[in-house]
Amino acid sequence: MPLTKRIIVCLDIFQKRVVKGTKFVNLRDAGDAVELAEYYDGQGADELVFLDITASSDKRKILVDLVERTSEKMFIPFTVGGGLRTINDIKEILRAGADKVSINTAATMEPQLIKESSKIFGSQCIVTAIDAKRVYIQTLDEAKNKYIVKVGDNSFWWEVYINGGRTPTGIDAVLWGKRATNLGSGEILLTSMDFDGTKDGYDIELTKIFSENLDVPIIASGGAGNPQHILDVFNYGKADAALAASIFHYNEYSIEYVKRECQKQGIPMRF
């Protein structure tokens, strides 16, 4: 039996609570973070991601405390991201007990952060998070030096957004992913802004182009609405891990059920 595909549960953290928005807005409350983390460990999650979306002056202190308490009670790998900007921020979170950090805006603005942090802490704990959105084009001239995909009559490339999906950068997501990997990032957490919150399935094209062009594991994110979507992103998107939130938070499907469905189709899963 080979290395398994991973089912990762994402907890969007606001203060100490888990919330989940759709299309990056409209927050709904889903429960206490440490309790939920323990619960998902017990349910068979392979990994957890904490994405801190708190925007207050004491946010770091609250997050560090949360990471500390989680790591005392939950013994599967977990990644923490959201507003980490410096080597010191990363050090603080790893010291509190996180296994990996995900960096997004700061890495895009200052790519050397990936190089420095992976040198100090090891590539395995530096995850680059990329929020990507399709840019549809009419002619190839509109998108020079971009990775263009054609699906039916539509041609498009993916643009990197930062600041929680609010700011477009003009950067090609695939090129940025390659560069982040070359700088030492050990994994990519890839979120489709077009599909996030829709429950229509992952952006298979996006996941596939990353998996085929990068040498590190790709975590697909955004759009999971049912087990078939997860199966599709493994089979066709070639993802190494699938991240989901609301389908688990609102008890639509259990992790166990999703894993059984994947296993039936020959995807290696951990039980």
Binding site: T4, E72, F75, S123, Q124, P217
Partner: protein
């Protein structure tokens, strides 16, 4: 003296996560590089994340190598984790050639990209126990999954040192090794959910005997 476990502190990686598991299991634990603390412990854990050469240098500088040798000679319970497994071997080819503790004969080599999909191996993989009656894997189903993060693996000279085997791509490697009072895992039991906790509990129970 109260029962306690010592985690050897040689400044390689996050020792806190293994400390937190022992705390969770209600075991008194000391993180230390002090020979007196380590030598009096009921069991010793050598964790580690990072490069082999740097790790051996740190053990040397902190004069910990004779301490480890003494623990092994006295047949006290000893658990190596990840880099802590690799250090037990004769030599490693990670970024050059380095001599290890030579407590188990064999070498440490890298996965070859032609044989596996991605290096490092990151994620959950299963372990085929070679001796299901060994104390370390008691009450753990054979072929259970554990969490791995590594680019290098150990190749013991003798098959008798192999307690667990794992397959990654076309490479089958020793994921648990043992010899006398030494046990060591390439995976991270402290990050491997319930079976990881069980394995650590098994080690603690062994230390109590």
């Amino acid at each position: 003296m109260t029962f306690y476990i010592a985690i050897i502190d040689y400044e390689m990686g996050n020792l806190k996560s293994i400390y937190k598991v022992l705390n969770y299991l209600n075991v008194k634990t000391l993180i230390s590089s002090d020979s007196k603390v380590i030598l009096k412990a009921d069991g010793v854990i050598l964790p580690g994340v990072g490069a082999f050469g740097a790790a051996i240098n740190n053990l040397n500088e902190k004069k910990l190598i004779p301490i480890i040798n003494q623990i092994i000679n006295e047949k006290r319970p000893f658990l190596g984790i990840c880099l802590g497994l690799q250090l037990l071997f004769t030599e490693s080819y990670e970024m050059g050639q380095f001599y290890g503790l030579n407590l188990i004969k064999g070498k440490v080599i890298s996965f070859e990209r032609s044989n596996v999909e991605k290096v490092p191996q990151i994620g959950w993989n299963n372990v085929e126990f070679q001796n299901e009656d060994h104390f370390l894997v008691e009450n753990i189903p054979n072929n259970s999954y554990f969490y791995f993060v590594h680019s290098f693996y150990a190749v013991p000279e003798s098959r008798e040192s192999i307690l667990g085997l794992t397959e990654y791509g076309n490479t089958k490697f020793a994921s648990i090794v043992y010899k006398d009072s030494i046990v060591a895992t390439q995976f991270h039991p402290e990050k491997s959910g319930k079976y990881g906790l069980r394995l650590i509990q098994n080690f603690i129970d062994y230390c109590k005997k």
